[in-house]
Symmetry: C2
Subunit: 481 residues, 2 copies
């Protein structure tokens, strides 16, 4: 059995792990930094599929947008590098969304629906701000409360549409409104959202260039955190002993029991405050379904389309099965005019975002996706009721089916402790987690407040840990002098 | 010379003064509450002109909207009263604003201009939030900084329009962007805005119903605040001695030297912290120009229209004169389709909002208004370049010309101390102003954070002072037992 002795072992070659490695290597030698990765590729939830498209289009199956562009460290990095140019490599898909329902286009402006939606969101924000002890409720419930409270200010139509429109948040968080936290579900944007046409897969490639020791297909099985050194044992038997480790596996994997596939055994066990924080938060399942056609049959002038669910849509079950499938218009759908994003009218392509539990179902049974979405997408047809063509190809993500991901990113259900996980894992707060000076560090989108759930959050968390370790080494060295 | 002895004297029969009187009279006798008012009418900056219109339309020359409808005490009161019904008495003028410039309609959606505008505003907010010691600059300057910083994310057209679009804030604050505080100029809405079709003049009428002692045309000249009782001397010689007084004169009047018309002499003088706070804030001049026509020549389907200033508009002078008049397209203009608000296509009427220094000029020279606005309004014409008809009538507000108003409401210039006045006058903070227990109280839109500058702010401040005084009387009584 091979044993590697090194200074820092990083578990996970995604954005946070590779950024940490990169940052560490500005001062450490290559032999001092090892990255182990469970998959047979780097990148984690950054993955650009450049080969499957019949049109030759690249598809980001994981992260695809630079969010919070007023303060996005990854975008700043890309721009500073000089190889990324917004007009060519990015696309601000931010035109007014056209909204459809079973009856056709919804007259948002005529009914002031965008204002009602903003108002309901502001109500939710004020509701929890005014009384910090207000019990968190699902988004579904807060919409009802808003309507009850402001009954006299709303028209019947506004009430009818609002409860369906507010479900657009399902396509941000990857969970359904009946479980989503109203308290934490409302988005707080820190700037615009820029679609990354270049493909986010380029980022781990760039970061990995200067990192020699990346070991693929090495899922971690055990971590001994008792002694002087931290010891990481992989399923293959490979062992790494390091002064510090940075654990960047997804929150979903961290929460696994040691006997589940992907589960890590900690010796000694992680303290109760940490394990409890992992039980007090959920992991979403934002998926994507790519539909490639031989012709554009939708309104090409638009960026994005929302198709509302029915007002009396059936309740959301725990999971769907082929015997108990979802019914069209049971969930809101969100489609991106991908051809327009890539300024390619001759490469007809729509990208749908999906939410749990639809994501789990379609990622398990990809052949079921088209029959569900077809009647909904029919509404987008510029030729009215003439049946839209079947796609040349349907590509579906598989995050929920991969035991080393099990979904997309952190998601807050009603009643969850939204920040608990960050507080326990960021090693930035005294008397919690593993302690400020722990040699076991955590990074990833689930360990940081700024950019939580985003690529730039992962990036910043990797930088945070690298800086901590470099500082610790520097102090150690200087105290020896 | 008459001297009235009473428990509470209220200076000003506007919203805050009348609300205070009303609240006091729930427990005090009529003889215990006197209201003195400088004008020959009640209402202050709530005034509905129901007689001037050739079409028989009511025009609110002062406040006209219920703002922050998620938490507006005045709207709640009106709704609870049962006589105000939103579909009949209110109008949510919140459809997408159509924006014009010299060249016609601006393609907001095609150029993503609403997103850019929101982004620039968010940038300003983050700028001052991130670094509390960032020096306040005028709105004009922050727009430039945003564009410089995010140069790579903006198209030339977006930059070109943004600096003109952001000036829409001039029509909220009643001041121009070259003086407006960037730090405090960005709006923080707490809900939707409801136009009050009933006319806000109804509110003081309702409040005054139960108040017997309202003395009109009684400008206050002196206030003796030294002894056991507070003594108020009016210009007519009328003297009122009271245990408590509530001063609700506008901030602009409070800031006057005693020798100016409307100025109040304080004996002893107000402390320096108070007078300095009044010097560290400005008073805006939001005005209105009503244009009544014999036919609708604009796009009747819209609520509101913005006409952008030129990109290279001439700098804003301190004041305009007939020799040095404003040039069309020098300022943004904002027009309300008043006919639509009142669902009266046969009563063609547009209401323009105006900002300082335009307001001051047009209120002094009302006959100059139409020649300035005509070429700008021409852009709204549905018949293209065919000259639009002259109005049957032009009605102009006169707030800046009235020595007891001198403008509209508090406005924050770059570098002002936005909250100083509120802190000094609200009697809610220890060791400032006249002290927590002072028998001289202040109320009005300029003395309160919640609803600052709004009708419901004035209302809440009146209630605050009435409650304080009632509590003080109750304590005094109970301690005597």
């Amino acid at each position: 059995m091979t044993t590697i002795n090194t200074k820092v072992a990083i578990i996970g070659a995604g954005c946070s792990g590779l950024k940490a490695a990169n940052e560490l290597l500005t001062l450490l030698d290559q032999r001092d930094v090892y990255v182990v990765e469970a998959q047979d590729r780097i990148g984690g939830r950054l993955f650009t599929d450049r080969t499957s498209s019949v049109h030759g289009l690249p598809y980001d199956l994981g992260a695809a947008w630079f969010h919070d562009c007023l303060d996005n460290a990854v975008l700043d990095y890309k721009l500073a590098l000089g190889k990324f140019e917004v007009p060519r490599d990015g696309y601000f898909d931010e035109k007014d969304i056209v909204v459809y329902d079973r009856d056709g286009v919804v007259d948002l402006n005529g009914l002031n629906l965008n204002q009602i939606l903003l108002d309901a969101e502001k109500f939710s924000e004020k509701y929890y701000y005014a009384l910090l002890d207000h019990k968190d409720v699902p988004l579904k419930e807060i919409a009802t409360r808003y309507i009850e409270k402001f009954d006299k200010l709303l028209t019947p139509q506004q009430k009818h549409y609002l409860v369906r429109m507010i479900r657009y948040l399902e396509l941000w968080h990857g969970i359904s409104w009946d479980v989503m936290s109203a308290k934490y579900g409302i988005l707080q944007h820190e700037g615009r959202n820029l679609y990354n046409k270049e493909g986010f897969g380029r980022l781990p490639e760039e970061l990995a260039k200067g990192v020699e020791n990346i070991l693929l297909s090495q899922p971690v099985k055990k971590i001994y955190r008792g002694g002087d050194k931290v010891r990481v044992v992989c399923q293959t038997g490979l062992t790494i002993e390091a002064d510090y480790i940075i654990v960047t596996v997804p929150q979903s994997v961290l929460a696994l029991d040691k006997d589940e596939v992907g589960g890590i055994e900690w010796i000694p066990s992680l303290p109760k405050n940490v394990t409890e924080s992992l039980e007090s938060i959920h992991f979403g399942a934002l998926g994507k379904i790519v539909l490639e056609f031989d012709q554009v049959w939708w309104d090409y002038s638009q960026d994005r389309y929302t198709i509302l669910p029915d007002y009396d849509a059936a309740p959301v079950p725990i999971e769907f099965t082929p015997e108990n499938p979802p019914i069209p218009f049971q969930f809101p759908a969100y489609a991106i005019n991908y051809s327009k994003v890539h300024d390619s009218p001759n490469k007809p392509s729509l990208v749908l975002l999906t939410q749990a539990p639809l994501t789990n179902y379609f990622e398990k049974y990809p052949e079921k996706a088209w029959e569900y979405y077809k009647p909904m997408l029919q509404k987008l047809s510029v030729t009215g009721n003439r049946p839209i063509p079947d796609p040349l190809q349907v590509l579906t993500t598989s995050w929920t089916q991969n035991p080393y991901f099990r979904g997309s990113y952190s998601a807050v259900h009603a009643g969850d402790d939204a920040d608990g996980c960050i507080i326990q894992l960021s090693n930035e707060f005294p008397n919690v987690g593993l302690g400020l000076d722990s040699h076991v560090r955590f990074a990833g989108e689930h360990t940081i407040l700024e950019g939580a759930g985003c690529v730039h959050g992962a990036w910043l968390s990797g930088m945070r840990e690298a800086k901590f370790i470099l500082k610790a080494f520097a102090l150690k060295t200087s105290s020896k002098l």
